[in-house]
Amino acid sequence: MIHSVELFHDYIRDGRIKIKEKIKEPTTVQDPCNVVRSGGLAEKNQRLAQYLSEDFRPMKYQGNYNYCCAGGGGAMPIGGEMKKHRLKGGKVKAEQIRETGAKIVFVPCHNCIDQIRDLSKEYDLGIKAIHFKEAITECMEIPEEMIPKDDES
């Protein structure tokens, strides 16, 4: 089992993917419980975020000791009956994100990203939550031969 955060991190570290331009806006990264605390990818997760951004701002407790977004443990897919509780519990995460002043939050987890988008609405954070893959596709250098030529003519 390998998580894509690790794959992507290794691609960039090993130069299989080159970063053309880093993200200029302040960024931070969420540590999804199942990737970081229970997945052991704390370092790679943070380093991947740093590879991709010029102004990376760690959260307080970044890493293994980070707070949960309150969307985990099945809280997201449970749906309606849980919504009230998870928005309430997510206050801590919302404040954490606000504290960093980041405008973009990398969220390498489908659960967390839905939750953090909801939190952004609920607590008016004005942030954009994106997956790493989105950022990588935007920032990476695409080899010459892969770029379609017919557009230029």
């Binding site: 605390r37 229970s38 997945g39 052991g40 990818l41 704390a42 293994n64 000791y65």
Partner: protein
Amino acid sequence: MDFFLFVEGPLLWIAFLVFIIGSIIRVSMFVFVSTKKDKIIYQHFSWKYLFSTIIRWLLPLNKDIPKNPIFTILAYIFHICLIVVPIWYAGHITLWEESRFEWSWTAMPDELADWMTLIFLGIAIFFLLRRIFSADIRLISTFSDYFLIIITALPFLTGYFLTNGTLDSITFFSDNIQLIHMLSGELMLILIPFTKLSHYILFFFSRGASGIEFGRRGYSI
């Protein structure tokens, strides 16, 4: 004074035996049952994570120190006094020397023992008040939590009275304080294996189990 002789002799033996054998039973029960029901520990067994987590929490190297500094540091001091005073107090060592084992080791200065006892009692009172007055802790406290603080503090309190003769003006105490001191100590020893006080030894197993659980995820807690 037949009762005194009983408390000084056989009951002391009983208390120590219950303490030692009880602890051994608690531990072997854990080991025995865990090999059947908690195989995960052994599948991922690692001395490295086992030791690193135990050391981190025996020494004040963990994340609780910055988070709750006052409580954690008091808890460390509390436990140090609790272990050091009964073992290195000169009066106790004399008893070991006079016993059939004739064991002997260097004693701590009496004055230090006195101070540590007072500090210990102070912290015990703080813990008790905290349990009573903090809404958080009150909610999670059970009867045994209050009871066991008192049980643990009693030998120290009576020991202090005994060595300093604080209550000697009251005849009942001047006659019986040594008896009460021994009884309270024996009571504590006997209760250890049956209550949460067993954490003195299960701590190592609990930390080990969790250390391995997180170790297999690649980091030490």
